[in-house]
Amino acid sequence: MAAMKNPKIGVVLFPGANCERDTIHAASLLPGASVRHIWHKDTSVGNLDVVFLPGGFSYGDYLRCGAIARFSPVMRSVVEFAEKGGIVIGICNGFQVLTECHLLPGALLMNESRKFICKNIHVRVERNDIPATRALKKGDVLKLPIAHGEGRFYAPPETLQALEANGQVVVRYCDQSGNITREANPNGALNNIAGICNERGNVFGLMPHPERAAEPILGNTDGWGILQSLLM
């Protein structure tokens, strides 16, 4: 894919989302980007290059996280957009929505500790050839905030095997030196998985919040590389 100049970015606004403003703000820091929100009742995402599904508690997380958001009118259009190769990035609750609508495999279960965890963790970049990681290097360790109660990635054994075999794991929880350890896994995710992509690489979901760590005033810019990748 050629370098993207002046990317057109949309952020889906579900009722109950609470990170859409942060995501719009962080994406707006990209030089040349035009960023707008997409209402959950819209039936088209319009002419965009990138769609973000933000974090939060869409539809109150009723029934299961992401289960009801999946059927909101805009999601049919998001799925079509992804199938045509459009870049879709789901953060936290957005990742949960992506698994519910089968754009990504697996599911996100209640954290092993049963606690809502809000803290900085580290992830290791496992591949840098997808649109959301091109500005990073394989093996980079990023310090990113997580804030979730249901982030324990799960997939049945054959799905997990396929994910690993296809190299679909994009970021893994690690210690600050990049070692993948049990202690560095905050939620009990299988294989320390923090984020995965589809086979084509255009759909990416992750539990950590890069948009909360994208400018110096926040004290952490490790998330900026993921946004910046969209320009490359």
Binding site: A67, M110, R114, A155
Partner: protein, 82 residues
């Protein structure tokens, strides 16, 4: 008709709430209790006079929305009347 749905995590998936309750039961002295699993119970009044058709519709509802087959199983019972 009344359809009653139970959704539980699939066998083999760690049920963290179940584990917490199991520990609590053990500390209450119920040491013989094992494999506590917590699920969701959903009740629905469904139009229709044919129990088999209501059952099929409820199964469909479970597959589409009430359960996530990646991680959950469901069970439906249908009763005549409300």
């Amino acid at each position: 008709m009344k359809a009653r749905v139970t959704v539980t995590l699939r066998e083999g998936i760690l049920d963290t709430q179940g584990k917490a309750v199991e520990h609590a039961l053990h500390s209450l002295g119920f040491t013989g209790v094992k494999n506590v699993r917590i699920g969701k119970h959903i009740e629905m009044d469904v139009d229709g006079a044919d129990a088999a058709a209501v059952q099929r519709q409820a199964d469909d509802i479970c597959r589409k929305l009430l359960s996530n087959p990646v991680m959950e199983n469901f069970r439906v019972t249908v009763e005549e009347g409300k």
